[in-house]
């Protein structure tokens, strides 16, 4: 297998990795960058556990090759909290509203929701549920996740009352 040098930033830090052409972005983040917060639930693009932001767009890291991310700015769950570990407002809302149980799907939901809250759009119950339907959670029945993002959106002034 030929190897390729790929450079990108992850959470603002420059990374230079050598990968096979077939290496996915998810495996590269986990194995070459040591960022195991991005989880693999299905490796075929359905569950969304591996969702990261690539140039601010939510992306299934299992469906993207690392070489396709050359030059990109990538954000992962590890970049959300403050350096001292303090949770950001969205993460705190997930804890407050019991938006996680086993925590395996959580990084994907956090990155998807980060994107939702950064868009210049007001969310409603319907648009929120439709967007969250990109990802699968097996533990919560979604209500805690919906409540968490709703609460964070409210605080950010992005909720249609």
């Amino acid at each position: 297998m030929s190897r390729h040098v790929v450079t990108f930033t992850v959470n603002g830090v420059a990374q230079r990795v050598e990968v096979e052409a077939r290496s996915t972005l998810a495996d590269t983040l986990r194995e070459s960058c040591g960022l195991t917060g991005t989880h693999l639930g299905c490796e075929h693009g359905v569950c969304g556990a591996c969702t990261v932001l690539v140039n601010d767009i939510p992306t299934r890291a299992c469906l993207m090759f690392a070489v396709q991310a050359d030059g990109a700015a990538i954000r992962t769950v590890e970049g959300l909290a403050a350096p001292d570990g303090t949770l950001n407002a969205l993460q705190q809302a997930f804890q407050d509203h019991h938006g996680l149980q086993c925590g395996f799907c959580t990084p994907g939901f956090l990155m998807l929701s980060t994107w939702l809250l950064e868009r210049d759009e007001v969310l409603s119950e319907a648009t929120l549920r439709e967007a969250l339907a990109s990802n699968i959670c097996r533990c919560t029945g979604y209500q805690g996740i919906v409540e968490a993002v709703r609460s964070a959106a409210r605080k950010a002034g992005r909720w249609a009352e």
Binding site: T36, H39, C102, R138, T140, G141
Partner: protein
């Protein structure tokens, strides 16, 4: 300060939210990768199995030949009608289901291992596969295993003497046939393990995504004839289990064998396809159910004929009896059943083995019993609430037809609460108006009980060779005054680190933050069984409370010595031991003295242990669903979903509600969406999440929860288990609601999942009859 009953935010969350949890695949980074060659054939003889000709450095091939003489998985039920099937770790001659692991390839990376898998020489002489229970039970059908001619691996039969007469003379006999299709528990993290060899000690550390680490350690040590003390099993952060991760899977034995044989680190992280086709399935059942009713609707007798497709092998330690025998023992549910007759059979087929999945058989028996109630009510001409009310158990303790003791519960109260919240008369008006506009709304009820927190007696009654009844908790206070609570249970999303800390904090008068719950590590916890069967809060919780009380007694005795008082005079509160006269000492200072001043506290310590093995208790609930069905497409929309539940004392309502909602979501999936579809040749047609459709936030509605708290006298904490109830109640509520919605068409629904094609077929069949 009372911590029990508070919606305390979970201690587990911050690390998980920062992406800093440690799951098995995270530990596996850097280990050599193991991938399994899996059988593409359901039944056949292996005629050739050879490694790739070109094996690069660092790669290995392992089949039965390489494993040599190691044990087989052969779980036992000590009962007359049980055939103990043996499962080889890797088969030497025959395959028994599609997906069965046949050989392992080790390579420096998973991708390289998968490349090598394709170069393995592997031929099987394919033979006819028995996939459906009908085929396996057909007279003269070949035996899946020679030890079980007729393909019945386990059978239970009972009949109360009055049953036959009751059916013969009853004014109404209602008979229904039910089908529950096969499901996969589908935790978001699949199975996986990483076995690491420690050359300094010769021990192996197996980190694995499992629910029963101690059991796994015992089972693997037996299989490999190795000293159990040389194996450490760690269940780190585990991404859901729901029962599937209770079983001892052959893959874990291969990992430990590799680590010992090659003195290195080996990891297998399954992919989603492996999980869907080759882990463990459940709920593949067929029931025939008859109820004898008096003219007024009183249930006189119940008869059940239960078939459970248990697949090709028997899962260790729960055995293939877990589904059929649970249905057999618990079918009467929360109802007064004066006479009961039942036959339950576990049927062997050439399919993936059955293992427990949240609720085990109870989602299916509740579906059966609650459909029976609705059908009978319609036949007799009474209201669905009325027929339930008159038949629900209303005095306690109640001895069931199968000999179970039902403790105090709120069967009628939860039903009445639900009916009141729903305002059924108003709904009937709305339903009528909608029908006039060609819209079909329906309301479905589901009343059930859930046997939880059961210790030894329940498992022993089944004759289980491994009886996973008790739990042990060790407690100790550090010299700095923190409490370490070591538990044998193994939570994986249930928030036990938080809930047990709340429980212990109250007993010791300290803050929950100073309690560390240590779990999921056989080196650091006492022998115990794990988290399953809605038992951890009841059994580990009870043991934790007792251990904390014993530690509290020690703290009071120590404080009495320092404060020159008597132990009876000491109260523990706000982190201090306080004497009646107001003098006090901080627990941290006290603990330091006990540990460091052996001149004062000779032979005294702050460590205790408690063992708890309760008889079991029944939690209960009434679920109700209002749905709208589109008869043109068969699509079901859930308009409202309501739960009135009673799990005794609630330790942490935030966590409890989460358990209920998550369970209901899986129950809704069971009712409407999820099905493992197997072709006639035994191949699975639903091998991706695009085909096996887990519901999303669009399909699962907001779930409204109301509580009652009937404190159990049968548990130390008064708590009853509630982990499984959500998934138990939902299929029946949804199926009853759909049948109610489609009653103008004469449709009665008896098969789940009620997918749009099934609903359309039911409507067409009803129209053809009309």
């Amino acid at each position: 300060m009372n911590w029990v009953g508070r919606r305390l935010r979970r201690f587990e969350d911050p690390a998980l939210l920062r992406g800093e949890g440690r799951f098995t695949a995270d530990v596996a980074v850097g280990a050599r990768a193991v991938r399994f060659l899996r059988s593409p054939v359901a039944n056949g003889r292996i005629t050739a199995l050879r490694p790739p000709e070109d094996m690069p450095p660092g790669s290995l091939f392992v089949s039965a030949a390489e494993l040599g003489a190691i044990g087989t998985i052969r779980p036992m039920l000590y009962r007359f009608a049980y055939r103990a099937v043996e499962q080889p770790i890797l088969p030497a001659d025959r395959v028994h289901f599609v997906g069965q692991a046949v050989a392992a390839i080790v390579a420096p990376s998973a991708a390289m291992a998968e490349d090598l898998l394709e170069a393995v020489t592997f031929d099987i002489g394919s033979e006819t596969a028995l996939v459906a229970m009908d085929d396996a039970l057909h007279p003269g059908a070949p035996a899946v295993h020679a030890v079980a001619p007729g393909n019945v691996a386990v059978e239970g039969v009972m009949e109360s003497p009055e049953a036959a007469a009751a059916f013969a003379s009853a004014p109404h006999v209602v008979e229904i046939a039910l089908r529950s299709r096969r499901q996969n528990a589908s935790p978001m993290e699949g199975r996986g393990g990483c076995a690491q060899y420690d050359r300094a000690t010769g021990r192996v550390r197996l980190t694995a995504s499992v629910q029963m680490p101690h059991m796994l350690r015992t089972g693997i040590a037996e299989l490999l004839s190795m000293p159990e003390a040389d194996l450490q099993v760690i269940a780190p952060d585990v991404g859901g289990g729901f029962g599937q991760k209770m079983a001892l899977f052959p893959e874990y034995a291969v990992l430990v064998w590799l680590a010992r044989r090659y003195r290195g680190d080996f990891a297998w992280i399954e992919d989603r396809n492996e999980n869907l086709i080759a882990s463990a399935h459940s709920r593949d059942q067929e029931h025939r159910l008859r109820g004898a009713f008096a003219a007024d609707g009183t249930l006189l007798a119940l008869e059940a004929d239960i078939l459970a497709n248990v697949g090709a092998f028997s899962a260790y330690p729960t055995t293939c009896g877990v589904e059929p025998l649970m249905a057999f023992a618990e079918y009467p549910g929360p109802y007064k059943v004066p006479a009961y007759a039942a036959r339950a059979r576990g049927v062997l087929t050439h399919t993936c083995p059955m293992a427990p999945y949240r609720g085990v058989s109870r989602p299916v028996i509740t579906f059966g019993l609650e459909r029976l109630m609705d059908v009978a009510a319609k036949r007799i001409g009474i209201d669905p609430v009325a027929i339930r009310r008159m038949n629900l158990v209303d005095s306690f303790p109640h001895r069931s037809a199968t000999g179970l003791t039902l403790d105090e519960a709120s069967y009628i109260e939860t039903l009445d609460d639900a009916a009141q919240h729903l305002d059924i008369p108003a709904f009937r008006e709305r339903q009528k108006a909608a029908r006039a506009q060609g819209r079909y709304l329906g309301l479905g009820l589901s009343v059930f009980n859930e046997r939880t927190g059961y210790g030894t007696p329940a498992f022993a009654a089944r004759g289980m060779g491994v009886v996973p009844g008790y739990e042990v908790v060790d407690i100790a206070m550090t010299p700095n005054g923190e409490v370490e609570l070591r538990i044998g249970a193994s939570p994986h999303g249930q928030g036990l680190r938080t809930a047990l800390a709340q429980l212990v904090a109250d007993r010791l008068g300290i803050a929950p933050e100073s309690v560390r719950v240590i779990h999921g590590d056989t080196d650091r916890t006492p022998y115990g069984w794990g988290s399953f069967a809605s038992r951890a809060m009841v059994i580990s919780g009870g043991a934790s409370q007792e251990a904390a009380d014993k530690l509290a007694a020690r703290l009071r005795a120590a404080a009495a010595k320092i404060l020159q008082s008597s132990a009876d005079d000491i109260t523990l509160r706000d982190g201090e031991a306080v004497a009646g006269n107001g003098s006090s000492i901080a627990l941290a200072a006290l603990a330091k003295q006990v540990h460091q001043r052996s001149d004062l506290f000779d032979g005294f310590n702050l460590a205790e242990s408690a063992h708890y093995d309760p008889p079991g208790t029944f939690s209960n609930a009434c679920h109700a669903a209002i749905v709208e069905v589109d008869p043109e497409t068969g699509h079901v929309r859930i308009e409202r979903y309501l739960v009135v539940e009673d799990a005794g004392r609630i330790i942490n309502p935030l966590i409890a509600d989460g358990q209920v909602r998550g369970g209901v979501a899986q129950g809704i999936a069971n009712a409407l969406f999820e099905e493992i579809v197997i072709a006639e040749d035994g191949n699975i047609l639903t091998g991706t999440l695009a085909d096996y459709t887990l519901p999303s936030a669009m399909e699962i509605p907001e779930i409204e929860i109301h509580h009652r708290e009937t404190i159990s006298p049968f548990t130390l904490t008064g708590a009853k288990g509630l982990g499984e109830g959500g998934s138990i109640g939902a299929p029946a509520a949804i199926a009853n609601a759909i049948s109610d919605a489609l009653s103008p068409f004469g449709v009665e629904l008896f098969e789940i999942p009620a997918t749009p094609p099934r609903i359309r077929a039911a409507i067409r069949a009803a129209e053809a009859r009309a």
